[in-house]
Symmetry: C2
Subunit: 377 residues, 2 copies
């Protein structure tokens, strides 16, 4: 690693592969395992920077694809870079755009050079290559840049998965060559779908290139959770133990704990905010669907022990906000859900330190299995 970055594993859970660590970046230290809230367009939807800090989040994610299309990386740079732009002085990771091309771009054509696609905003023709993704991320000024990768859906033809994995390897090498900022780390992305041999080939080749961190990509793209866990089982042991491991785009609370159990250090997902906007709140007793009639007269908060602004109100009030289409509903439940994820990760870190992660997972899983179902007025 360059002198700007370091990663220390401070303890490994006695009963699992879970690690307690510290990831040091130019914008501060991240206690791992960590969950990064997603600020796609340079804002975590519905949460201002101050409230975001109060959730306990230390590191956040922003998107190369979205910011390059709007307002453009030159504009972000002219406005002082991503940290000043977002008023976030902690570490920021930028996704490379690979996943967004896969999920959002219209009429994308992929060849060895890169990807040409139509912007989902205005239909403009855009080209993204490994070199261009690196250049954009350097303009944005994130602490961690992801290599540009070729993401495919699962299930898929073995040859398609293998081709995309090998193209991602060649693109990772091009990204490494293109990088110029010593204050920005690059994370590689292991691909290979659910195929253990392809995952091994990808991991081995990327490890040989010596990246600051390693992501596990191409999961949570249509496969069942058990398949994702199995892919993690075969992938994380192949990654160097002295580098941070990042499971991209995952996931539900249980997925985070199952990832942590398998040695993952970093996560990101839109679930806390996307669900929050749709009136679904995470709690230890399972998801609460705030539009349900049963909450109309409920004076209790979502969680009496939660310090977030939503939990200063009754469930009945939160329900009213959604029924009345008030933006405060999405705002409050988004910040609650991010707080929930941050507190869960803090619990996991404590459990690792005390060698009882498996017990925590069993306990939480039991609570989450409850589900009130849907009973809307």
């Amino acid at each position: 690693m360059t002198s700007h970055f370091s990663f220390q594993v401070e303890h490994v859970d006695a009963s699992s592969h879970a690690r307690l660590g510290k990831f040091t970046t130019p914008h501060g230290v991240v206690d791992t395992p960590a969950f990064m809230p997603v600020g796609t367009q340079g804002t975590v939807k519905g949460v201002d920077a101050g409230r975001l800090r109060e959730t306990g989040a230390q590191m956040i994610l922003a998107n190369t694809y979205h910011l390059a299309l709007r307002p453009g990386e030159q504009t972000v740079a002219a406005l002082g870079g991503l940290h000043a732009f977002m008023n976030w002085d902690g570490p920021i990771l930028t996704d490379s755009g690979g996943f967004q091309v896969f999920s959002l771009a219209e009429r994308a054509t992929i060849d060895e050079t890169g990807v040409r696609f139509r912007s989902h905003i205005d239909g403009a023709l855009v080209e993204l290559t490994p070199e261009r993704s690196v250049a954009i991320q350097e303009q944005l000024g994130s602490d961690v840049a992801m290599v540009f990768d070729h993401v495919v859906a699962l299930p898929n033809e073995p040859a398609v998965v293998a081709d995309a994995m090998r193209r991602s390897l060649r693109w990772a090498e091009r990204c490494k060559t293109a990088a110029t900022r010593i204050d920005q780390a690059q994370f590689a992305i292991v691909h290979g779908g659910l195929d253990a041999a392809l995952r091994a080939e990808s991991a081995d080749r990327l490890v040989a290139l010596d990246f600051v961190g390693y992501a596990i990509g191409g999961l949570s793209v249509g496969e069942p959770p058990s398949a994702m866990y199995a892919a993690l089982d075969v992938t994380t042991p192949l990654l160097p133990s002295d580098r941070p491991r990042y499971l991209m785009g995952v996931g539900r609370p249980i997925d985070l704990l199952e990832g942590i159990r398998r040695g993952v250090d970093l996560f990101d997902c839109v679930m806390p905010t996307r669900n929050g906007r749709n009136a679904l709140a995470f709690t230890d007793a399972g998801p609460v669907r705030l539009r349900n009639l049963q909450h109309a007269l409920d004076r209790l908060p979502l969680d009496e022990s939660c310090p977030c602004p939503a939990c200063r109100h009754s469930r009945g009030y939160l329900r009213h906000l959604f029924q009345a289409n008030e933006m405060l509903g999405p705002m409050l439940v988004s910040v609650h859900n991010i707080t929930y994820y941050q507190r869960l990760l803090a619990e996991a870190r404590l459990a690792i330190a005390e060698n009882r992660l498996s017990a925590l997972i069993d306990q939480r899983r039991k609570g989450w299995e409850r589900d009130e179902g849907t009973n809307v007025e």
Copy 2:
């Protein structure tokens, strides 16, 4: 006044009728002149209770009409009353519903008993009478309840304005008779349009009934600002100097200062939040339209001296949020605008204490006259 309420005028500006006062309520003291942000449906749109406190707001407004329709005053009462519901422990004033019937209700029919109308939400038939408005406001548990009044548009036939004013007088008397809570004050509402004689008749009759406070209603309903100021000129001198005076639904920053100059103590208006949602920010140098192209690369905040969360960001960032349809844009500019109004009122209070309100008004008016116009990308 009952023992729960008191109003002290501490100083009157040497060059105008502006008063510096303290209005004491069961939920705390309000420094007047004061601006009350509007929490129509039990939330100031886009601003959580903590952020709202940080703007300097001491007292807020909620709406009888909206809350009675949704979630219903019984639900608010079951959830602990309006203060607990909104998590606002400061004073709250509730509008009586008179203005909303005038502006929102469909197919309203008015007679001496009250108003029957169709809910703007679901078309349900609803009846609002003076007694019912009082009962709803008592269930909501606001500190200040407004009498139920008959609002008419301006300009209008003299006979229509006179009839509505006299009906409002009879309804005010019925409201006074119906009130039962000693921890809730009732404010009367002076009507009479732009007619000095009608205003005088309304004020005299209401003063004889001895209310805790007096509102000036039926303004900002279509007439030019100069006509509104003229109506204030003839009305405020008729109100007892030892009772708070409240100019309802007003207005622009200059309207607040012109009202203060004429001896008004309380204001409310949706302008800060409604404009904030539409990317218009108030500053001492006039309104800033954040969608304008000229702000795209502007690294300066709206106001370097402003402590609000929006002013931790560049104008370029705020513009990006609106261009990208991010809810953080409306959130940040709403809280900025409320902060702007609160700081303006604090400046006005200081200027009154120092006998220089007129100088402040001249200075501010000069700044506000600048307007960048509209120049959207």
